[in-house]
Subunit: 229 residues, 2 copies
């Protein structure tokens, strides 16, 4: 058995006798990767530890050896999954680029990332609905700030940038929070709601991909028109 309830388990010693390709990671890494795949596809409650073990190609008992419980494993996976989605956006928004560039970058980043991980938004949304407390933990771990502080710093800088652009008659006044939410909505929702939209459009996979490609092309202009004066 293992240490006790205390803290992080030490990672298994790496063998340095040969390089470590992604397909042949250390056990902990393989479990995490498999768990990610299964949790994201089935949802936390629907995921089975046994399926995760099978996917990782390891003995089921090892999941508990490394992560102690399904709850902890799911928390680790959530952190990892959410960490893929937001940091790049936050860094773009917090950069010193122009508003136009920010809009274009965020749209490009989000759409290309999400089209490769279409289950991600739905998983994160659903996970946060059932564990709202993880949202705070998530934002904190991503930014190193408590939420109230994030609001002040990230949105504070954006507010100044917007106010400046408004003063120069470049854009219509808008709260920075609304600016960001509008941008994220237009990127994320279509991917998250993909099955519903496909049914609504009578689209198959291929034509829905075309739809997203059209979006990548048209969305920046759409958004920029919306914030014009």
């Amino acid at each position: 058995m293992v240490k006790s309830k205390s803290q992080k388990r030490r990672a298994p010693a790496r063998r340095h006798t040969r390089p470590t390709p992604v397909v042949d990671r250390d056990t902990e890494g393989r479990i995490l990767e498999a768990a990610h795949a299964v949790f994201v596809r089935r949802g936390t409650a629907g995921a089975r530890m046994q399926e995760i073990a099978a996917t990782a190609g390891v003995n089921p008992a090892l999941l508990h050896y490394y992560f102690r419980s399904k709850e902890r494993l799911s928390a680790a996976v959530f952190q990892r999954a959410a960490g893929e989605l937001l940091p790049s956006v936050i860094s773009v928004l917090a950069s010193d680029r122009s508003l136009t560039e920010k809009v274009e970058s965020v749209i490009d980043l989000e759409l290309s990332h999400l089209s490769r991980a279409p289950y991600l938004p739905g998983y994160i949304i659903s996970e946060l609905a059932h564990h709202p407390e993880r949202a705070v933990q998530l934002v904190t771990s991503l930014t190193g700030l408590v939420p109230a502080e994030v609001g002040r710093r990230v949105f504070g800088a954006l507010r100044l940038q917007i106010a400046d652009a408004v003063r120069r008659r470049r854009i219509h006044p808008i709260e920075p929070e609304q600016f960001v939410v509008n941008l994220l909505s237009l990127c994320i929702f279509p991917i998250a709601a993909r099955p519903m939209l496909m049914a609504l459009f009578g689209a198959d996979d291929k034509s829905f991909s075309r739809f997203i490609e059209h979006r990548r092309r048209d969305l920046p202009a759409f958004f920029l028109r919306a914030i014009r004066p």
Copy 2:
């Protein structure tokens, strides 16, 4: 025991000796209502039949008497839940009102409905991710058309209306599908992602409600600017 695997169970005979307030529905109705509450809050896989029975105030065995299995109960609940979200929007979009009126109506309808049922979008998104086949069934039951036909009719009419407005230089060209998806994204995503956004903003319930109220006020103009020529 019951009929067999055949079809719909007859609803229990209604007692006409007194009116039927919502709180004292017939058993089937109470089960459905309780199941709705539990499935939407916990997700389908996370929901427990026992909790549904307790919420409805009925014996657990009755759930199976009326709905035969958790699977069937969850399908009934999904139909009911999704049926609350889309029909009003579709009827507005398919009406003969102006584009401006359509935009304003959809935003108002969605935001007021969703602010009262914040779990709904997340539930539907997550449910469809795990049961994509239900999307077709849903669209069909709502519109009475197969998806391919919906695309043609609903979006066909909208396409003409947009083309006409473009010809009269009232709006910028846009595909009707993109028009609808943009509109729905801006309404639905902020509610679905509420826990994440609250953490990101450092907002509490009250200030997030204010955020949504600001949205209700500003979103129509935002969207209408985006489709200007």
